[in-house]
């Protein structure tokens, strides 16, 4: 009998040497004549323990980490294949507190299964949602999604069921389902983890969407910075096609759905949905004026669903377990769970999927364990480069859409970036403007020119040149960008800047002019 050993193929795990660990385990097993079956799973998202190696013991999986290539010989010497004691032993994986206290619905299989194996996927509840959906009318599927309370996880938090209903209500035509896998926000990686660790969940979610709205073709718009996800998705698509979960006769139902991955080309703005559609059509990613909504006139002018990876990957469980099951997690108008991503200067960075309502403080300290540097946490940026910086005095805020809006922040795609007290917040404000200038699609003046002016004004403030006058100018500039921008890039870049002006103003006064 061979023993199953798991070494992640997740990009972050690979970035820390997982490939070398996998090779070393194979070599050592061969040398010792141990029967080992190496499985390349996704990551559990406990990144301070990556590369994390798991051994399947009769009573469950046992974790070792962080494992370096050089540790492999000693792991064998300690008989890790039987769960032997070793300094890197973390005990039973599911008992690690960081993981045990989570509520993993959308990411339940990530890190657990072999990502592109249909058999493993089905053995862990996969394709149950699609099976249910095939026995329902399109209107019933859309109703289930509405009832679940699911809101878009890409940032704008729009109710997914309403979007689907709009597409369903359009007269029969070539309709499309598109997945926004552009994941451009700093501090976010949940889309990536899902696509690498459980790509079939996304594929199943998109297939259900297609059946619900009457679309036969889907596209995944994937950022070019994610080559590992590209490979995993294409392997999974092939597996799904071969097993008739995609194609002309899905699960023998006579229903049809095809899916393909398209690569972006390094433009942050292409994460905005209309820019993404332009890019999918092979054009410059310039923002489209709304209306018409993409649901009415989207890809190639046809009715189109646009949803984020996490949104779509949450659909299978909603159909499989029922809308009420999903809706019963969460609080207020934020229903279900959100895979939060803990990043930056934090001791235990990773994926934390919890029902809405967890406090930011619990996330930062109970999960994160404080800063990586050991210094006090001074600021946290939530929701990517367009999100506000939150000061320590507000860490008790609950993580849900309304509570964060209430303190002038936003949740976005759920990325949380931690900074310790060595951060220069004036510099971060400058960076926000600089990023907008680099990534602007160029269509409106307040965004294109305003952001460049913003960098210059902040430089003058930092230098101490007419500081008070320039601070007023910066505030006016933020107002102009807020009011006069066509989309969220120009229209939200002021959020981080204003939050710094409000909570960290002293950093603009740090240097005096010589």
């Amino acid at each position: 009998m061979s023993i199953d050993v798991y070494v992640p193929r997740d990009a972050s795990a690979l970035s820390l040497g997982a490939e070398g660990v996998a090779r070393a385990i194979e070599e050592e097993a061969r040398a010792q004549r141990s029967q080992v079956r190496l499985i390349r799973n996704g990551s559990r998202g406990l990144y301070w323990l990556e590369p994390m190696v798991e051994v399947a013991l009769p009573h469950g999986r046992w974790a070792y980490g962080p494992v370096k290539r050089e540790d492999v010989a000693s792991l064998f010497a300690a008989d890790f294949l039987q769960g032997g004691a070793h300094p890197l032993s973390q005990g039973p994986t599911e008992e690690i507190p960081y993981l045990k206290s989570q509520q993993r619905l959308t990411s339940a299989r990530v890190g657990v299964i072999e990502p592109t194996s249909i058999a493993d996927y089905v053995a862990h509840g996969g394709y149950l949602g699609l099976k249910r959906a095939l026995a329902m009318t399109p209107a019933e599927i859309v109703q289930a999604v509405l009832d679940s309370g699911l809101r878009g996880r890409g940032g704008a938090a729009f109710p997914t069921g309403i979007k689907w209903k709009t597409v369903l209500d359009q007269p029969p035509a070539q309709k499309y389902v598109t997945c926004n896998a552009d994941e451009g926000d700093s501090g976010t990686f949940s889309d990536r983890m899902l696509m690498e660790g459980d790509p079939l969940a996304l594929i199943e979610g998109m297939t259900i969407a297609g059946i619900a709205v009457g679309a036969t073709q889907g596209y995944i718009y994937l950022r070019v910075e994610y080559p590992h996800a590209y490979a995993a998705l294409n392997e999974a698509l092939n597996a799904a096609r071969q097993a008739n979960y995609l194609g002309r006769d899905i699960m023998g139902s006579g229903r049809q759905f095809e899916l393909e991955v398209r690569l972006g080309a390094g433009a942050y703005i292409c994460g905005e949905e209309t820019s993404m559609l332009e890019s999918l059509e092979g054009k410059r990613g310039e923002i489209r004026v709304r209306p018409p909504l993409p649901a009415i006139k989207g890809l190639f002018g046809q009715p189109t669903v646009v949803n984020n990876v996490v949104t779509l990957a949450s659909i299978p469980i909603i159909l499989a377990r029922g809308a009420a099951y999903y809706r019963d997690f969460g609080t207020g108008k934020s229903r279900g769970t959100l895979p939060l991503q803990l990043a930056g200067n934090v001791r235990r960075g990773g994926l934390v999927e919890r029902a809405f309502g967890l406090s930011l403080r619990e996330l930062l300290y109970d999960y994160g364990g404080g800063s990586a540097s050991g210094r006090p946490i001074r600021a946290v940026q939530v929701g990517g480069p367009l999100g506000a910086y939150i000061p320590a005095s507000q860490f008790d805020v609950a993580i849900d859409y309304e509570a964060l809006t209430g303190i002038g922040a936003l949740l976005g795609h759920g990325g949380v970036v931690v900074f310790d007290d060595t951060v220069d917040m004036a510099h971060m404000a400058r960076y926000a403007m600089e990023f907008c200038a680099i990534e602007s699609c160029g269509k409106c003046t307040p965004c294109r020119i305003g952001s460049t002016r913003g960098v210059e004004v902040i430089d003058r403030i930092i230098e101490g040149v007419e500081r008070e006058r320039n601070l007023v100018l910066l505030e006016d500039l933020c107002e102009t960008m807020l009011q006069g921008s066509l989309c969220g890039l120009g229209g939200m870049t002021p959020f981080p800047v204003q939050s710094i002006l409000k909570h960290f103003r002293e950093d603009f006064h740090a240097r005096t002019r010589h």
């Binding site: 700093s186 070019v224 390094g266 990043a343 930056g344 200067n345 971060m428 990023f435």
Partner: protein, 161 residues
């Protein structure tokens, strides 16, 4: 050879890429990816060839090439290093790492080292934010990169063309 003209081999690859993708919906970006993958960049001379193949104007094709940061119209070094400069990596010393990298290679961002081994590019998030600072060399991702790691990577990259 003038800047505008393609060698016969280059023209042949461009035509092959066009033929492969032409019938797909919205094929231009796929074609540019194909050209850059086979030639290392999108030569200005490829623009009219692609425009003709897809029945677009040169201005349209040129407009797309220049819109996207990933496409480049000039050759690069044997290895392309993309250093993440976004917030999470900044929180873990990405600016200092960038300064070190520039010093070590003797170049600024968007430049190629004198020996032709490395081109240095900034990038804004690689999805490796729980392991910041991050960089990508060609298709390989690295996390928690120290200046020493960077130097080791440079030494290895110079040895292996």
């Amino acid at each position: 050879m003038s800047r505008q003209s393609l060698s016969d081999a280059q023209r042949e690859s461009v035509l092959q890429v066009i033929a492969k993708h032409k019938s797909r919906p919205g094929p231009l970006i796929e074609i540019l990816h194909g050209v850059q993958a086979s030639l290392g960049f999108v030569p200005p001379g490829a623009v009219p060839v692609i425009a003709e193949g897809l029945n677009l104007s040169r201005a349209e094709v040129h407009g797309v090439v220049t819109f996207y940061h990933f496409f480049r119209d000039h050759p690069v070094g044997r290895h392309v290093v993309r250093l993440c400069q976004a917030e999470s990596c900044q929180a873990m010393g990405a600016s200092a790492l960038a300064a070190h990298a520039k010093r070590r290679l003797g170049i600024d961002f968007h430049e190629t080292s004198a020996d032709g081994a490395f081109t240095l590019e900034p990038v804004y998030c690689l999805g490796n934010c729980a392991c910041s600072p991050a960089l990508m060399i060609d298709g390989d991702l690295l996390g928690r990169v120290t200046p020493q790691d960077f130097d080791d990577m440079v030494t290895a990259g110079q040895a292996h063309p």
